[in-house]
Amino acid sequence: MTDAASAHSSQHPPYLAHHFTDIEQQNESGTLGMWLFLLTEIMFFGGLFASYAIYRLRYFEAFREGSHLLNVKFGAINTAVLIGSSLTMALAVRAAQLSRRKAIIAFIILTMVLGIAFIGIKLNYEWSADYHEGLIPWMGFHVESPNAAGVRLFFCFYFFMTGLHALHMVVGLGIMCVLLHMAAKGRFDGGYFAPVEITGLYWHFVDIVWIFLFPLLYLIGGRY
């Protein structure tokens, strides 16, 4: 307590915000804040998952039919891509812990590349194909089936949930641009890498959401 005044001026690391008493408090606060934010995201996606579950129970045949119209191959490739990007993100955090500036930059770039690949595969191979096949509910939906209404509902959920997920990925990529900038400037080292770690948490969450989405949307009623 008595040292507070002197410690403040002489030992104040540049990355310690003024309102925190020490770096532990800052790191713990940041991490707790991100966990709480992820909790809100779970509730947000949770509402959609709950609605999906209710309609799937009600229209199982239609949902199975809709699921079979999806491209499992690309869905699976994307799953691998995203899990890979979580690996590279974790390696970026590790590099930051070890103060390896070049490695941090390399792994963040790799993560972003994989993330862009995910979105690219979705846009180019899946969603554009869906459009041409008349599977987008509000853009010329056309499915010949006695279950058409239920299939349409399935695709609503497919596009809303994967669309929201993709939006979260884009936001994540934006955050990584900022991280990249900070890493390039040498801001991270063994003493301070909280932003990398927190971004890693967010990115892992985005990955986990996909891991739930993939089987629930692509693998209904057994596809393999």
Partner: protein, 332 residues
């Protein structure tokens, strides 16, 4: 605010007094029970509010600050008191819950002999159709002393059918059926209201329930012009829309026979079993292949958009009547 007791004389006096009415008329078998519970809760509320205010007033005066430096004694936790004022409200709540739940449970299911009337809400009026075929708009004639079941649905947005004098209320939701029942105990004319906001004309979506003696009601029924009964209309639709071509009565058609099916459980292809009630039939007509049944291919076309709510209900009335003599004979 006078304390209100469950004495009917006091109640009648309140009704008779001009100026400010306090209670709506009690015109159904459940009204008295609901009012009694309401009285109790009112007394409870006013009592506890009065007690809290009184204690606060008393403490405010008794313990008002007399000098700037006076030192009140330290606060000491008093566990017995904490437990008491946790347990006692809990017990009161349990009592009220059980009382209310038993009333609600009793009121939830219509007696078997209930006569059924269809009520369809639409922006911004109520269509009423009696089984005998009489139609009304924003009016509902019912006989005294007979349980009446209303089957409610909506043609557009969610409405709600509320008869204050009977203490009944139920949402009328598009795409599904709900029901309420009552047995009127007083002749007269009573309000009904739409009680779920439904747009510009929500406040105008009101009407009158006319409770008549059974004789008067029969006379009214006979004297009012009408078309076919609901069952007759349903039969006509059954033929008009081609249902009869697949649903042959002896079971040889492309679709199952529908004779005597109402009220029975139906097994679905995925194993679950549903009761063939109004909701089931409505879904079968509008989303036929959402409930595939064993042994029949899911090829029934949907009639969503081709039949309005009234017509669907007429079809259901007809389907209910199929095999009814057989069911009645079995004492159901």
């Amino acid at each position: 605010m006078p304390m209100l007791g469950p004495l009917s004389g006091q109640f009648a006096a309140l009704q008779a007094s001009p100026g400010i009415p306090v209670f709506p008329p009690r015109a159904s078998t459940v009204a008295e029970g609901v009012d009694l519970l309401h009285y109790f809760l009112t007394v409870l509320t006013l009592f506890f509010t009065f007690v809290i205010f009184t204690i606060i007033f008393y403490f405010m005066i008794r313990y008002r600050r007399r000098s700037e430096d006076e030192q009140p004694p330290a606060t000491v936790t008093h566990m017995p008191l904490e437990i008491a004022w946790t347990v006692i409200p809990t017990l009161i709540c349990v009592v009220v819950f059980l009382w209310s739940a038993s009333l609600y449970f009793r009121n939830a299911n219509p007696p078997n002999a209930a006569s059924e009337v269809i009520v369809i809400g639409k922006q911004w009026m109520w269509h009423v159709q009696h089984p005998e075929g009489v139609r009304e708009i924003n009016e509902l004639h019912v006989p005294l002393g007979v349980p009446i079941k209303l089957t409610l649905t909506s043609q557009d947005v969610i409405h709600d059918f509320f008869i204050p004098a009977f203490r009944v209320k139920r949402d009328a939701t598009p795409g599904r059926y709900s029901s309420l029942w009552f047995q009127a105990t007083k002749t007269g004319t009573f309000h009904f209201f739409c009680a779920q906001y439904c747009g510009e004309g929500h406040a105008a979506m009101i009407g009158w329930v006319h409770v008549m003696t059974p004789d008067d009601y029969a006379a009214w029924l006979a004297g009012t012009s009408r078309g076919e009964t609901m069952t007759q209309a349903g039969e006509r639709l059954f033929h008009q829309y081609g249902c009869v071509t697949c649903h042959i009565a002896d079971g040889t058609g492309r679709g199952p026979s529908l004779v005597g099916q109402f009220g029975k459980p139906q097994k679905l292809r995925d194993g679950q079993s549903l009761i063939v009630d109004e909701t089931f039939l409505r879904r079968a007509i509008t989303q036929p292949n959402s409930m595939p049944i064993p042994n029949y291919a899911p090829v029934m076309p949907t009639f969503q958009g081709q039949l309005n709510e009234e017509q669907i209900l007429q079809l259901i009335a007809y389907l209910k009547s199929l095999g009814e003599e057989e069911r009645k004979g079995k004492g159901q």
